[in-house]
Symmetry: C2
Subunit: 503 residues, 2 copies
């Protein structure tokens, strides 16, 4: 009966499943490329991935689908099917939005820019970078104009909507505008407070080296503590850590240095948040857009829930400390209180990816305030350095003049043409704080539970409210259903103030 | 001009390239499944591989291709293109030969039989095995009948032709018939000779344990010694060692036990032979059938050239010995002469995959003499055990009555429906001996070169005569061009007699 009453929907359902299965191979091959592939495999791998991508693109953009979507709209679908059909249509619109020639130009421009950037960044060669970056930006603006025309959104919003459906710059302006009011003051207070405390009694530094084997085992243990299912995923090593693979087989990566272990440990905690979201997306819908993660900010909210909300939590650190001691042998620096101090050190710095949770939003606000007008055509690439310098001074009190390498050239996003992505990081931090605020309202003893080693309450809450919901609801509805209110940046502020200025 | 004078050929060329690229992803995902995949990934991986396989099968069997092949036949192709077109057509004929329903029945029957066999074999449950095996055989016979009808070959030959194009059972009968004349006598002489020598002075047994890390490094070193390009391949661990991946990125696997190292070391040497063949197939033709390995026997001749011809060679063992000592610390058992004795021990046994190079052909002859009449309908599955017992007694002097587990149930080939494959192993051993005989004629100082550590002469010969030729020639022509004569089993006999009965 299902097969007869909704033939158009069934057609879309089957197509989604085929794309999911082919996408599985692309995901595993992509992970392999980062984690295993020897250098001479690169060209053949790129050709193989491009072949499959073209094939999948052809399946996604089949002109006959317009008619199928129209017919599915008239079919008697239940609420889940309706939501799935809407998500399928959203993906189809994005896939068909851009002419092939533009997609190819983007591919060429970003590949050239990123490739050159790998040499230009260490050489601090801003002028050289600009040559390629202008073309990347030109393509991105064309893309944005086309998407804006089709969606009725502003150009920047049309780009951001690909990563964060439903989010608009008017909202980001309001959220980040609020943040901008109190963040520099908070940073100053925290830095001063930590300076005073450190002057009286500096935290103890762990003494290395930290054997990579021991770090690897420690990461495995902490992933188990965080509920990662090793029967449905792995941890491997790659230059740039990521969480890839497929929901049925999550492939996380990290990297190790033997003079430092907190970086890869907390990086692993971060990726485990992504990994558990993927491992716990709604099984009955797997293979359908409905079973995909809701958005990049929601994804980031899971990694930051693990890395920041749990990661710096005194109760969680108390669970971590004995594992660290067991891994490397006991040291006074591994005492829970000292470890917690190390994990919550705040220091304004030039590099976003090295930033702590207090200063991180400043890096994101700065980028958002530059890339939005850049896409809207209000500023040009030449204007970036002066804006960057001014905003770094304003937000973090740092002088970055002439240092392009650790300034506007530090991230891969712009060379890759990824405009509209940066806000997701800080939206994710806000969501993560909001999840924990909601959990504490519902479970007043949450912190005691965590301190007692009961992380299951956290996993249950996230699993029920976020992971298992996939893309069933719009982001705003997901957030309201999960936490009782729309995104509210007050929770991030309260979290930071309590952790960094509380007693 | 090329694009206009030969449009049909160009079409086939482009199709081959697309299939090669998609096959790349299937190969890497297949390797990953064996080497990395956690258990819960299995179902999704199988579905993904099946989806891609169906898609590729559709591309390969597009009915419009018949017309393209017809037109390509009239186009002005050069000799290489003509050979490539012929190989492409051969693959197309194989892909289109069987109706989809039969392919699906085979898939189901072999999956069921193999799955049950994994439990039935340890339980020695021949009766249970027969239930599923009858269906596997029924499907294989149907397949053989269809292929025979289309090709004009006998049924068994039609199956064998998929693995060993051009080889016919009349030839195998002759080759194996000769072997049968002298092999049992040779085995008896060698066993007696080794017994006498061992009684006088038994070889020293290496003392374990052998750390897996050290074994892993040793395998890496030996692969480098054998010229494996680690920039275009890897060695990993899997339950069943194999050589997979793609020519541009060869993925070899091995397995380690800490109480024994020669097994995985020589297994790695074996797979390195396969690996170097793949890594050195003709680059300009890569992606075309012309650039594929000629046949399974020729492939096996490369692994056996490495494992058997080089592996037991006193000169080569002298190069290996210091690496073994360095890996595990010196032991008297690692002296070259002792190591060579360990590596050339001959002992008739029940298990094919554990057999030495002298007794191995007996296992293959036995299987060939059973599976050929089985496919031709001259015997039935019920007849196997008695035949097996009789032939084991005849060829190896072993009593196997009632031991199905280590008898006809020991190999995965029959449960998987792989009939016509077994002869390739011993044909490969014959080819390998023939290569070295030809090398010695051309390079009279070959053995001195090997003893002096010059393996390059061997690699150059194989590279020029075999690897770089891909599927340019029929197997017989390849063999004649490489060695000056058609396959001649006298070389295997001479090799075994010299190594095992020489002074």
């Amino acid at each position: 009966m299902h097969g007869t009453a909704t033939p158009a929907y069934d057609h879309l359902h089957a197509l989604n499943l085929r794309l999911h299965r082919l996408g599985h191979l692309a995901a595993i091959a992509g992970w392999d490329q980062a984690a295993n592939m020897p250098p001479k495999g690169n060209e053949a791998r790129a050709a193989a991935q491009a072949e499959l991508a073209a094939l999948m693109h052809g399946m996604r953009t089949d002109p006959a689908l317009a008619e199928v979507f129209a017919r599915a709209g008239d079919e008697p679908l239940d609420a889940g099917q309706r939501a799935n059909q809407a998500e399928t249509e959203r993906e189809w619109r994005l896939a068909t939005a851009l002419p092939a020639a533009l997609v190819q130009r983007r591919q060429l421009a970003t590949a050239r820019c990123e490739h050159a950037w790998r040499q230009q960044r260490p050489a601090n060669d801003w002028a050289g970078f600009l040559v390629n970056f202008r073309e990347v930006l030109a393509v991105a603006r064309e893309e944005a104009a086309l998407l804006a025309e089709q969606s009725g959104l502003s150009r920047y919003d049309a780009l951001m909507d690909r990563f964060e459906p439903g989010m608009r710059s008017v909202t980001v302006d309001r959220l980040f505008g609020e943040l901008r009011q109190w963040l520099p003051g908070l940073i100053a207070s925290v830095v001063e407070r930590q300076r005073t405390r450190d002057a009286a009694a500096p935290p103890l530094e762990p003494a290395g080296p930290f054997a990579v084997d021991a770090q690897r085992r420690l990461c495995d243990q902490v992933m188990r503590l965080l509920g990662f299912d090793f029967d449905a995923g792995r941890l491997d090593v790659s230059t740039h850590p990521f969480c890839g693979g497929v929901p049925e087989d999550v492939r996380m990566t990290t990297r190790f240095r033997d003079d430092e272990f907190l970086g890869s440990l907390m990086g692993t905690v971060h990726e485990t948040g992504h990994g558990r979201y993927e491992q716990n997306l709604p099984r009955p819908w797997l293979g359908q857009p409905l079973a995909q993660a809701r958005s990049m900010a929601i994804h980031e909210s899971q990694s930051l829930a693990f890395e920041m909300q749990l990661g710096g939590h005194a109760g969680f650190v108390a669970r971590l400390a004995p594992l660290v001691s067991a891994a490397f042998g006991p040291q006074p620096a591994f005492e829970p209180a000292n470890l917690a101090r190390l994990m919550t050190r705040v220091k304004p710095g030039l590099i976003r990816v090295d930033a702590d949770e207090v200063t991180y939003p400043a890096h994101v606000i700065l980028r958002y305030e530059i890339e939005r007008p850049l896409i809207e055509g209000e500023i040009e690439p030449e204007d970036i350095p002066a804006l960057w310098d001014a905003k770094m001074q304003e937000l973090l009190g740092l002088d970055t003049r002439g240092n392009f390498r650790d300034g506007p050239m530090q991230d891969v996003h712009w060379p890759e043409g990824l405009f509209g992505y940066f806000p997701c990081y800080t939206l994710g931090a806000m969501y993560a704080a909001q999840w924990f605020a909601a959990m504490r309202r519902e479970l007043p003893d949450l912190d005691a539970r965590i301190a007692a080693g009961d992380l299951q309450s956290v996993f249950d809450w996230l699993g029920e409210r976020i992971w298992s919901q996939g893309s069933r609801w719009s982001t705003d509805e997901l957030v309201r259903r999960a936490s009782g209110e729309s995104l509210n940046p007050a929770h991030l502020r309260a979290h930071l103030e309590r952790r960094y200025l509380g007693q």
